[in-house]
């Protein structure tokens, strides 16, 4: 009964089969594997070694696999971020900055760099501001000139208009003058009469 219980485990069955002197037991249980695998234990590996051709294996061992560096093949173009690239020829491992001196040197370097950057930025901004102001002044001047020119032309136009209106007035004056003259001419006879009446010296007497 004991071997039937242990059959479930392969190893135990092997050991049991090997240890048991009765081959019938295994056949009774209906398990052929342990008995078949057990017999040619030493033979199978030797057969495999002999059966398979050794030529291929030997060749594979002989063929050397070259690395890309050994062959001198140019490297493929790959995108590597700027921060990730590490300089060649340097020792592996990190150099830590923990002492005060090295930190202060780095600090002063960075501060100087930043100050320079800010100064240059400010200078640039000032220069740009100056240029802008100059441009603005120029534009203002141009605008003023344009306005002045416009005013001038306006004045000229006004003057011309005045002249033209003035000439019209003259014409009227002339007409008035003419009228006066005419009136004077018309009234002239009367005036003459009046004058004759008044001037007794210039009397005309008809000879009888």
């Amino acid at each position: 009964m004991a071997p039937t219980r242990t059959i479930k485990n392969k190893h135990s069955s092997k050991s049991s089969s090997s240890s048991s002197s009765n081959p019938k037991r295994s056949s009774k249980d209906g398990i052929k594997k342990p008995s078949s695998s057990h017999k040619p234990k030493a033979k199978i590996p030797s057969k495999e070694q002999k059966g398979k051709p050794n030529f291929g294996q030997d060749k594979k061992k002989k063929s050397r696999v070259y690395t890309e560096k050994e062959l001198g093949i140019p490297e493929l173009n790959m995108i590597t971020p700027v921060g990730v690239t590490k300089p060649k020829g340097k020792k592996k491992g990190k150099i830590f900055v923990d002492d005060k001196e090295s930190m202060s040197t780095i600090l002063s370097l960075i501060l100087a760099e930043k100050e320079g950057q800010i100064e240059s930025k400010l200078l640039k901004a000032r220069q740009m501001e100056e240029i802008r102001e100059a441009r603005k002044a120029e534009a203002d001047k141009k605008e003023q000139d344009r306005k002045a020119k416009l005013d001038e032309t306006k004045e000229l136009m006004r003057k011309k208009r005045k002249k033209t209106t003035g000439s019209n007035n003259n014409k009227k004056d002339d007409e008035e003058e003419d009228k006066i003259v005419k009136d004077a001419v018309v009234a002239g006879t009367k005036a003459g009469k009046k004058t004759a009446k008044g001037n007794k010296k210039k009397s005309v007497s008809f000879a009888e």
């Binding site: 971020p81 150099i95 960075i110 930043k114 640039k124 901004a125």
Partner: protein
């Protein structure tokens, strides 16, 4: 947790120098003989007292959540990104400042840029694209950003024009609560 390397230290200090003029006070020795150092853990940079940093060496990397003041995060491309947690340190030695009116504080704390209409006053001679710390009119630091225009240019700007691009604000303590300290 480890000290920063040469390159890392440069990038961190370079970023800090955008906002601060007085960097030397950061590493100046304290009265009790102690000093502040920079430490890196899980790609986060911490500004911490040396004595505390030494104590923290007894805690394993995975178990150590945070120590001192978290300044920001080193990205995988080697750049440094400042977090809002660095604001108290930036505010101490700010290079350029912008004070915003009460009506502008809320929009800023909700994550919008600073417009000219909200500016109460600003420091003179501030160039374009320069780091600045944003304060309320009661001198309480609210966040930090980058100037959109120089001071002279900003004077001519219309009221709705952006004066400062927001980088971080105190509202992030609530908005980014989950990712601010871990993850």
């Amino acid at each position: 947790m480890r000290a920063l390397t040469d390159e890392e230290m440069k990038t961190v200090l370079d970023k800090l120098a955008n906002y601060m003029s007085d960097l030397k006070s950061l590493i100046a020795p304290l009265d009790d003989g102690d000093r502040y150092v920079f430490r890196l853990n899980h790609s986060r940079v911490y500004y911490v007292k040396l004595s505390i940093a030494n104590l923290a060496t007894s805690i394993s990397r995975d178990a150590l959540l945070s120590l001192g003041t978290c300044l920001g995060k080193l990205t995988k491309t080697g750049k440094f990104r400042l977090h809002i947690t660095a604001l108290p340190i930036l505010a101490q030695g700010a290079r350029h400042k912008i004070w915003i009116k009460e009506n502008g504080a809320q929009p800023f704390l909700y994550g919008s840029n600073v417009v000219k209409a909200h500016v109460g006053r600003w420091s003179e001679d501030c160039p374009e694209h320069q780091g600045c710390v944003v304060y309320s009119m009661a001198d309480i630091p609210l966040g930090f950003g980058v100037t959109a225009r120089s001071t002279t240019e900003a004077r001519r700007l219309d009221p709705t024009g952006v004066v400062c691009f927001r980088q971080a604000d105190c509202g992030e303590y609530l908005r980014d609560e989950d990712t601010l300290f871990a993850g």
